[in-house]
Amino acid sequence: MNPILISVICVTGIGVLCAVILVIASKVMSVKTDERLPEIREILPGANCGACGFAGCDGYAAALIEGNVRTNLCTPGGDATALRLSEKLGLAYEDVVEKVAFVRCGGDSRAALDMVEYQGIETCAAAALLHGGQKLCPSACLGFGDCARACPYGAIRVEDGLARVIPARCTGCGLCVSACPKGIIATMPDEVRVAVACSSHQKGAAVRRACAAGCIACRRCEKECPEGAIRMENELAVIDYDKCTGCGRCVEVCPTRCIHAGDFRGASKRRSRA
């Protein structure tokens, strides 16, 4: 037989065989992708912040389609996103527990003493590399504003060497939480009325030496709280927000005034109310 014919038949045959197998395989083993996935992905803000507990917005969208996931987990999206998700998926609408960031330090340049005079690069990340920063207190706000630069909403301002969150602008996305090298910024439910502005786990005497506005773990608030919502954990007052009614008794009795009271409702709540 003609050698050219043989080779052509051989290669064509193998090619056709491979093609047929691939076509059959792609039909038999096709994976159905839900057509709702891109639509749901469209509703989500796309910040991929992970506040919902899933790996980005895609992960949350996939989990929503699979079911058994609540629609109110997206904090940056707030009530508006939750409402649209509920309508899309035909699930019951639940109010989003909006979060708001809070700087757990009250040590401004007057209250918290410096350990050394820092003259390096003016970022918290750089200062924190050098013995944990220039402050005497190991959990103090360094005041160079890494958090303020990380905030896309301009919700953090540094005043008197201390970062402060402006709740009205905060969406609770948590970018500042990861930007802070000292780890003293936390997100909390924005319904709370009181918060402890200190993160120091040092003993009372050491806190006293370093800062006039720190929690010295005197237990006054723990004893006075009518709901029993405050406990001392590692020399620091911790408020259980499930029990707290926001009466403000702890704010009155705190000798160093490190428990702050106020309206912490964030931007997403105000936006959806308006």
Partner: protein, 199 residues
């Protein structure tokens, strides 16, 4: 009777002495492209090991029972490329359906190595060396492991180089290639190991 000693010689030889990346300079593209991070380097290497063994298992019978029988061994290259490409596609479809976790882990690396020259190189050199089926599989395994070794070693070298501050003209690819050459030089030290150990 299986010649275990011969298989060990083939395995060790494929990993160290005839290392595909550092001695034969095949598969340089992924070696330079995907070796920046250890995690992606291991992902790529695992995919390469898998595909090398699989494609050897398919191409060896095709060569022996089809091409040689009809006397058209010269079609080896084109037929092998065809079969390997289709095979990888098939594996990808099957993984997506039945083992989605592995599919996500191998991710983009699986289609990337479809037409990798190291894979084709292993299948063809199996034939050229006159290996039997078992020997070919062992050679493919060893070549894959050698690729894995080279990738892991080089990703370590590169992570050190990330922190270095070279002259501007050297930064990037020139320095990477120089480093690859030095790592390759180290592997030349294995030349003759087989003769002295097993000879």
């Amino acid at each position: 009777m299986i010649d275990y000693r011969g298989l060990v010689v083939i395995l060790v030889g494929a990993v160290f002495v005839n290392n595909y990346v550092l001695q034969r300079f095949l598969g340089i593209c992924p070696f330079l492209g995907v070796s920046k991070q250890l995690s992606s380097a291991t992902g790529m290497s695992l995919a390469v090991i898998f595909v090398m063994m699989l494609s050897t298992a398919v191409t060896w019978p095709i060569q022996t029972y089809l091409l040689e029988r009809f006397g058209i061994g010269y079609l080896q290259t084109i037929v092998f490329i065809l079969v390997i490409a289709a095979l990888v596609q098939l594996v990808e479809i099957a993984l997506k359906k039945y083992v989605p976790a592995l599919y996500r882990a191998l991710g983009i690396y699986l289609p990337l190595i479809t037409t990798n020259c190291a894979v084709l190189g292993v299948t063809i050199s199996n034939i050229d060396a006159g290996y039997g089926f078992l020997q070919s599989i062992i050679n493919a395994l060893g070549s894959g492991l050698g690729f894995f070794l080279a990738m892991v070693l080089f990703s370590g070298v590169r992570s050190r180089m990330e922190e270095a501050d070279p002259p501007e003209a050297f930064a990037g690819l020139p320095l990477t290639l120089t480093a690859a050459a030095i790592v390759s030089l180290a592997f030349f030290g294995f030349t003759g190991v087989i003769e002295n150990l097993f000879g």
